[in-house]
């Protein structure tokens, strides 16, 4: 079905976020009124010619519409999804461009090309269309949506759509707003702030007093025809008092504001870390650890710098400029204006300077980052470097990245070292102008010496803050960037969180049910697709299948490290999303392939999830985990320090510690992720023994590649390409002669080969 419609003019490069009105109208014309609104859509941004284009795919009612906007007139085609003809929709992934295909009765009907930018939307669209073809309802009987809504993230503050590339609303993170927001942290410590700022302002005002006193000293006390020689000592006394007061103000300012800076930095660090722990695991896989560490340490330190010095310098400098300008103008308007002449030129120079500096600094930052990344790449891999005798190559790699930094700094240092003499010259030019104006007049007796000396002092007090503001511009920008990076963490909404009214379940039985669960990490590729199963309390389930089948993802969903995008996960018949997250996780035990030990003693590590546990229970758990004997074998026993820089433990020992940790925690649901894969067979036996004890009476999900370790499992779930391929006991699956049977055969053959 092809239809022509009136010409539509394009206004802007379409983003694919909103369905254009013209397209909606076109679709609306052809569908019954009650289904006129498309429920899902996506935009293909590559035309058949290979250039950027605009073709829309939309789902409205049971119709899949394609609207081609690339020609002079939009072209509309429709495919009936629920008719007699069998419709399939697939996405063929490519390099930078993928294809969305509609196949009707085995014949290619439509092919749309789109770039990476539209991949998420198309993936979502494909699944909506598939749901429609299967006739599955997207809304539960009680009206709650079964599938995640297609809407984009929306900012909580301004209700604008948040773009794909960020977690936060860029609008609300605007630079100026950031400084305002930073101020709200500063104002939490009102006492420090007011004392510090008050002292700073008072100090600035006192600064203006000495030159004024000097004028009186010279003109009225020291001059040959002085009238008030008796003022000498009182004036010196006042001068001394003013200086002392100023020094005290300076001390108060530095002390209070330095402390204030530390307080704010601490608040931000603590708040950022507290927020980080709420974020889902997805966040941590997306952001490199080093970057997060940097944000919390380095950026908060920069903010200290800004609050302790920058903030006050900006205020004081601006204040000083105004005060001095007023004083100068009041004394001698002409001389004052002459003093101001170099200022506009200086400001222009300064502006140009910062503009030239910025890209240079950026480049150096980038090269610096590259250099550090060479280091963090090579140092952990030193063993490999030595084994392949690539030391020279790595030395060269590092030296050349360090040299790259050096080369770029040449430009940078050239720039600022040329700039500052210019400024100094300019400002000195200002004093020369003042000298040439005032000199002849002093000789002519029109102008008093003291007045002139005062003027000169004020001039330097005037130029100083201007220079200061020039420098501050950069400090200000840097602080804003740092603050933004921290606020970026704080503003990332946790995707997995406890609902406001969770169902209380202090002790679960361990019945686990998956209902049409689908999941994706990147929004494009489905790692799990429509997985459904139910597990009885106490049952042991073996999870097997080819790598990348979705086994680890499945257990991640049980722990609720992530929420499924479609379908639901139930524990004891309660949707895990309705449970209290803490309650849920504290009843799930996890033993991983590479257990993580924290810096601390063996005992502390065993009691990691259960700090109150007494020594008896720790030993009991260690015994059950077959760990007691080797622990007591250490010279420091249970007090042995492990973790980074601690006692080195073998893989098997670490494994058994983590089993002891799980036993002590006494979870109702247990997850074993490749718990025995990286150890020798004797150790494996010991671990297996420990695991057998641990599994007793708990719902267990064991992931294993070596199928022999799953022999105790009541049932096996075989995952392949994100789908539940098979499910049943060992015997049933062997009889079914499917994926499992083949895996089993291969491993048996391998074992036989190894035995020879």
């Amino acid at each position: 079905m092809i239809r022509m419609a009136s010409k539509v003019t394009k206004t802007k490069t379409p983003t694919g976020v909103e369905l254009p009105h013209a397209v909606a109208l076109l679709i609306g014309d052809t569908t019954p009124a009650n289904v006129a609104k498309p429920s899902a859509f996506a935009m293909a941004d590559i035309a058949t010619s290979g250039g950027f284009g605009e073709t829309w795919a939309a789902l409205a009612g049971d119709q899949l519409f394609i609207v081609d906007m690339n020609g002079n007139t939009p072209e509309l085609r429709a495919t009936d999804l629920t008719g007699e003809r069998k419709v399939e929709v697939t996405i063929i992934e490519g390099v930078g461009s993928s294809r969305f295909r509609v196949i009707v009765d085995g014949h290619l009907q439509e092919e749309l090309r789109f770039s990476c930018r539209q991949a998420r939307r198309f993936s979502r669209f494909q699944h909506r269309v598939e749901d429609r073809i299967k006739g599955r309802n997207t809304v539960d009987s009680d009206g709650t949506p079964v599938v995640a809504p297609d809407e984009d993230k929306v900012c909580n503050t301004c209700e604008r759509a948040i773009p794909d590339w960020t977690d936060n609303c860029p609008h609300c993170l605007h630079q100026r707003k950031i400084i305002v927001r930073l101020m709200s942290y500063v104002l939490r410590h009102k006492r420090l702030f007011y004392i510090g700022m008050g002292a700073a302002v008072l100090g600035a005002m006192l600064m203006a007093v000495p030159p004024f006193l000097t004028k009186y000293l010279i003109d009225d006390v020291l001059a040959s025809d002085a009238a008030h020689t008796d003022w000498l000592w009182p004036l010196i006394g006042i001068l001394g008092a003013v200086i002392a007061a100023r020094v005290y103000c300076e001390y108060l300012r530095l002390n209070r504001l330095a402390m204030l800076g530390e307080q704010v930095a601490h608040d931000l660090r603590a708040e950022a870390f507290n927020h980080l722990r709420k974020l889902s695991l997805a966040y941590f896989t997306r952001k490199p650890t080093g970057q997060l560490v940097n944000r919390i340490t380095h950026d908060s330190d920069r903010l200290w710098d800004f609050i302790a010095f920058g903030l006050v310098n900006v205020t004081i400098s601006s204040l000083m400029i105004v005060i001095i300008a007023v004083v100068l103008l009041a004394h001698d308007p002409i001389l004052a204006l002459l003093t101001f002449t170099p200022v506009p030129v200086g400001i222009v120079l300064m502006y140009l300077h910062t503009r030239r500096m910025r890209p240079m600094l950026q480049r150096i930052w980038a090269k610096w980052g590259k250099m550090t990344s060479v280091l963090s790449d090579v140092l952990p891999g030193m063993r490999v470097v030595k084994a392949f005798t690539q030391e020279d190559r790595e030395v060269h790699r590092f030296t050349s990245s360090s040299k790259a930094v050096l080369d770029d700094t040449e430009d940078l240092h050239g720039e600022w070292t040329r700039f500052w003499p210019k400024i100094t010259l300019l400002l000195n030019l200002g004093t020369l102008i003042v000298w040439s104006y005032a000199g002849p007049r002093i000789i002519g007796g029109e102008f008093e010496v003291g007045e002139f000396v005062m003027f000169l002092s004020y001039i330097w007090m005037f130029y100083g803050p201007i220079e200061e503001l020039g420098v501050m511009n950069r400090v200000f920008q840097r602080a804003a960037t740092s603050a933004q990076r921290i606020f970026d963490i704080l503003d990332t909404p946790p995707t997995v969180f406890t609902k406001s009214n969770p169902v209380a379940r202090p002790s679960i039985e361990g019945r686990v049910r998956f209902e049409d669960v689908s999941f994706t990490y990147d929004g494009v590729k489905r790692v799990l697709q429509d997985v459904s199963f139910e597990v009885e309390p106490g049952e042991m389930i073996g999870l097997a299948g080819p790598s990348g089948g979705g086994k680890t993802t499945l257990v991640n969903l049980i722990c609720r490290f992530y929420d499924p995008i479609d379908g639901r996960v139930f524990i004891d018949g309660i949707d895990v999303r309705d449970m209290n997250l803490h309650e849920l996780r504290s009843q799930i035990g996890v033993v991983l392939q590479e257990p993580y030990l924290f810096a601390g003693t063996v005992a502390q590590n065993i009691a990691y999830g259960n700090h109150e546990a007494d020594m008896d229970r720790i030993i009991e758990a260690a015994r059950a985990a077959n760990a007691h004997d080797f622990i007591v074998g250490f010279p420091d026993g249970y007090d042995t320090i492990v973790g980074e820089r601690g006692q080195t433990l073998s893989g098997g020992e670490r494994q058994r510690l983590s089993i002891a940790r799980a036993i002590l925690n006494n979870p109702r649901v247990l997850i074993l992720d490749e718990a025995t894969s990286s150890v020798d067979s004797k150790t494996e036996m010991k671990i297996q023994e420990a695991i057998d004890r641990l599994v007793e009476g708990r719902t267990t999900f064991a992931i294993a590649h070596r199928l022999s370790t799953l022999r105790k499992a009541d049932r096996l779930l075989i995952l392949k390409k994100g789908k539940l391929a098979e499910c049943g006991t060992h015997e049933e699956l062997i009889a079914a002669d499917g994926v499992y049977a083949e895996l089993h055969r291969t491993q048996a053959e391998l074992a036989a080969v190894m035995a020879v």
Partner: protein, 182 residues
């Protein structure tokens, strides 16, 4: 337990094709089936059963574009590795090239019009051989120079925009890119 779902899923899942290879590039014959997928035949075998859902991939999409093309089956197993396309017959070569063009999208940047430095994101307004585009760059290291001197600007969504010969760009474009090159 939802044994039924599993059973029906199993029926849907086609029995895996056995892994097959074709020894000689000259014996490879490709065509496009009704569903739009590529299919392959070994011409040295009489009445050969076609290999379905064939995919084409370049081994070195950036550094050795025209050499080492891998022909793969639907399971991602290699049927044949073609060091060059010289030895395959014309129709097959045309199909391989057509498929590669369709699955690749690597616009070449012809000019950089403007670069907006945002807080979290740098927006590059560029002209490419495929039309104008706004490239959204998240990290400074996403604009990098390759060993051969070309520059690749990576979009946050994964798209790559190449500047083959930066020195051939106009001066303003060169300045903009030079300033932000990691």
């Amino acid at each position: 337990m939802t044994t039924q779902t599993v059973e029906s899923d199993k029926k849907e899942q086609k029995k895996d094709q056995p892994h097959r290879t074709i020894a000689q590039a000259g014996n490879l014959r490709l065509w496009r089936d009704a569903r739009g997928h590529l299919a392959a035949l070994d011409t040295s075998i009489e009445n050969d059963k076609p290999i379905e859902e064939v995919r084409i991939a370049r081994c070195f999409p950036w550094s050795q574009r025209d050499r080492y093309v891998s022909v793969r089956d639907g399971e991602g197993r290699e049927i044949i590795l073609l060091p060059t396309l010289d030895e395959v017959d014309d129709a097959t070569r045309a199909l391989i090239e057509e498929e590669l063009t369709a699955q690749e999208f690597a616009p070449r940047v012809t000019a950089i019009l403007e670069v907006e430095d945002g807080f979290d994101l740098t927006v590059w307004h560029v002209n490419t051989d495929r039309g104008p585009f706004e490239v959204h760059v998240k990290h400074t290291e996403d604009v990098r120079q390759m060993e051969d001197g070309s520059i690749i600007i990576k979009d946050h969504a994964g798209g790559k925009f190449a500047v083959d010969n930066p020195i051939a760009l106009d001066l303003n474009s060169q300045r903009l890119i030079e300033e932000r090159l990691a």
